[in-house]
């Protein structure tokens, strides 16, 4: 029923030989061996959905759209359905999912388990805001319905629970009417990280899409632009055709194209190109899934892959962060290929969810010793300041530090234990922190 498989994280930085099982019926999920972990699209930057002691259960064959309810505003989908399939189905009906991450092959089960964020977390919240109910297979409880009104505790544990509560069979997700056919983008330029923080904070309530992009060399002082995107009705409907995507885990052989010199050159060209074209109209598909056309960006990282690090800096320590970050960049000279920031706000933090108020920083670096050393220093800052780290998108996170970053993590595992009555369980690396 299961077979050997070489698992790699999206960034190629984690590789594990373990077992994979691809069930296509409910009874095959029920008949699993003792320890398992759900596996969605496999686009997590971390080794969260595979583990040498567990069999990964793929949701690939659970990929159907089950219900579309326009009146009540929801869609029921199986957990293996990709965001791309949902996007094209809903687009025809002039609806969309308000919260979705930037890669089209991520599954709905992955979005729930990682409680992902979308293009403007400040305005739309995380994925938990659009989940109506979940059908979950739990080894001790069988197939159960979870919602705000039914099995609430397990519902809360499942959202952002990284697959540790069971296998999500399907979910009802809230949908929103989409009047627009394109996204109008405008770039606002800044000269420092601090200035970027201010623009993001001020613009967050007013825009549908919001993120910053920075140059990362010392001499540039991290200048860049904030991209402000808004839905726009347009007579000329830009192309939103379904695309067959390349293998994003394929990498350039032997070496990485990125080093401090090439990155500086590429970033300068990109910066001036962006300066010349400050406004542009993009298709809905490209706006929702900006990574879909960026396969070459990942390819150039080479066989060693990339390290993505994503964390939230609370408002009160933003100055300390800027000083520390700039000093560490000066000292270690890492090759930061991408630095991007979003503005987050929450009043509902729970368990292991990547959800807090502050600035969400994303960094991409080639996987090498110099860059790992830089991240080591950064992580001591994050650990001391108890900053939240994105467990699905952070390939450098050390599981032993879970308690520092997530004060609720003990409560999470204690609550999980309440549901464990047999030896069968959902298990990942997180259980061995």
């Amino acid at each position: 029923m299961h077979f050997d498989n070489n698992f790699t994280s999206f960034g190629n930085s984690d590789t594990v030989k373990s077992k994979l099982c691809v069930p296509d019926r409910i009874r095959k999920i029920e008949k699993f061996s003792n320890t398992v972990i759900p596996y969605g699209g496999g686009y997590s930057y971390n080794d969260i959905s595979f583990f040498r002691k567990s069999v990964s259960i793929s949701s690939k064959k659970f990929n159907r759209i089950l219900e579309f309810n326009e009146q009540e505003g929801y869609i029921e989908i199986e957990s293996g359905t990709t965001l791309q399939d949902i996007f094209f189905f809903l687009k025809k009906k002039n609806f969309y999912l308000k919260v979705q991450p930037g890669f089209p092959l991520i599954t709905i089960g992955g979005c729930i388990a990682g409680n992902v964020h979308g293009k403007n977390q400040f305005k739309d919240g995380n994925f938990n805001k659009i989940i109506r109910s979940i059908r979950l297979f739990n080894p001790d409880m069988g197939i159960i319905e979870l919602s705000e009104y039914k099995n609430k505790k397990l519902f809360d544990l499942t959202i952002g629970g990284l697959g540790l509560t069971g296998f999500i069979i399907s979910a009802k997700i809230k949908i929103h009417r989409l009047e627009a056919s394109t996204v109008q983008n405008k770039k606002v330029f800044f000269k420092s990280i601090d200035e970027a923080f201010n623009i993001l904070k001020n613009e967050a309530p007013k825009n549908d899409f919001l993120y910053s992009w920075h140059q990362t060399s010392i001499s540039s002082n991290f200048k860049g632009f904030v991209n402000l995107g808004n839905f726009k009705k347009n007579k000329r409907n830009t192309s939103s055709k379904k695309k067959s995507l390349r293998n994003f885990k394929k990498r350039l052989s032997f070496f990485t194209f990125y080093n401090n010199a090439t990155v500086m050159l590429i970033q300068k060209i990109f910066y001036y190109k962006s300066y010349l074209f400050k406004t542009y109209t993009a298709s809905l598909y490209n706006s929702f899934f900006p990574l879909a056309s960026k396969w070459l960006y990942f390819y150039f990282y080479g066989k060693a892959g990339l390290i993505e690090s994503q964390f939230i800096i609370p408002e009160k320590i933003k100055e300390d962060f800027i000083n520390y970050f700039e000093s560490q960049v000066k000292k270690n000279r890492p090759t930061i290929v991408l630095l991007s920031i979003k503005y987050f706000k929450t009043d509902n933090y729970k368990y292991l969810r990547f959800d807090d108020s502050g600035y969400c920083i994303s960094i991409n670096l080639p996987n090498n010793t110099k860059n790992r050393l830089f991240l080591n220093y950064m992580y001591s800052f994050l650990k001391n300041n108890k900053c939240k780290v994105n467990l699905t998108k952070d390939s450098y996170f050390k599981h032993k530090n879970l308690n520092y970053h997530f004060p609720d993590s003990k409560k999470f595992f204690q609550s999980l234990d309440d549901y464990k009555k047999t030896s069968k369980q959902f298990l990942s690396k997180l259980n061995f922190k």
Partner: protein, 246 residues
Amino acid sequence: MRNKTAIIIGASSGLGRSLSIELAKSAVKKIIICSSDIRDLIPLKKHIEVLHNIDVICSEQKYGLDKDAVSKTVKLIKDLKVNLIYFPIGYSCEDNLANMSTKMSQYIMDVNYFCILQICSALHKMALKKQMLFVGFGSIAASRGRSNNVIYSSSKRALKSFFESLMHSLRKVDSYVQFYDLGYLNTSLAEGKTKIFRPADIDTIARTIVSNINKKDITMYLPSYWFIVVTIIRLIPNYLFKKINF
């Protein structure tokens, strides 16, 4: 096609699932999907209804376990005036060897052969009077007996022979029969297995089968290159074949 009603026996996964969706796309009036677990049928019914807006009826039948499953299916076909009958049903297991227990062998024979034979036999009279389509599915595993997959391939070979007879017995009436020998398909059974030939996409195979819906009396391999492979396998002299371990 628009006035026709189809039944897919073994619809919950693999080719049966793809076939149900392809038939729904081609706008048959109604589809009946049968399988041993209603929990797998309901999502398929919902999916077809939401995407293709046609009537779908679910029927949970445990062939090989419930002795009334065949008679219930026959009744359903007669009551709902079904014209198109597809049998993508099948079962095999890993220890399918010559020394398998009688009970398990019986079950494999029941699911892969006897239940289909009984349904077709019960409908034979009806097929002589009104136009019906019977579609059976064999396997390249049945092309030549070997030490693995023993009971499954025997049942599939028997099924092929039965469908040839059915085809012959209905040659003078409007009803017709199709039989497809299937090669490796990308079902969940093929996941993780290294094969010399790349497993064919089940959606493409289902599309081909549905596009052949009006063709009378077909016996073919899908994908068609398996005809050449099977012919070569059959031509291998016995003394050499014995030495091959597969």
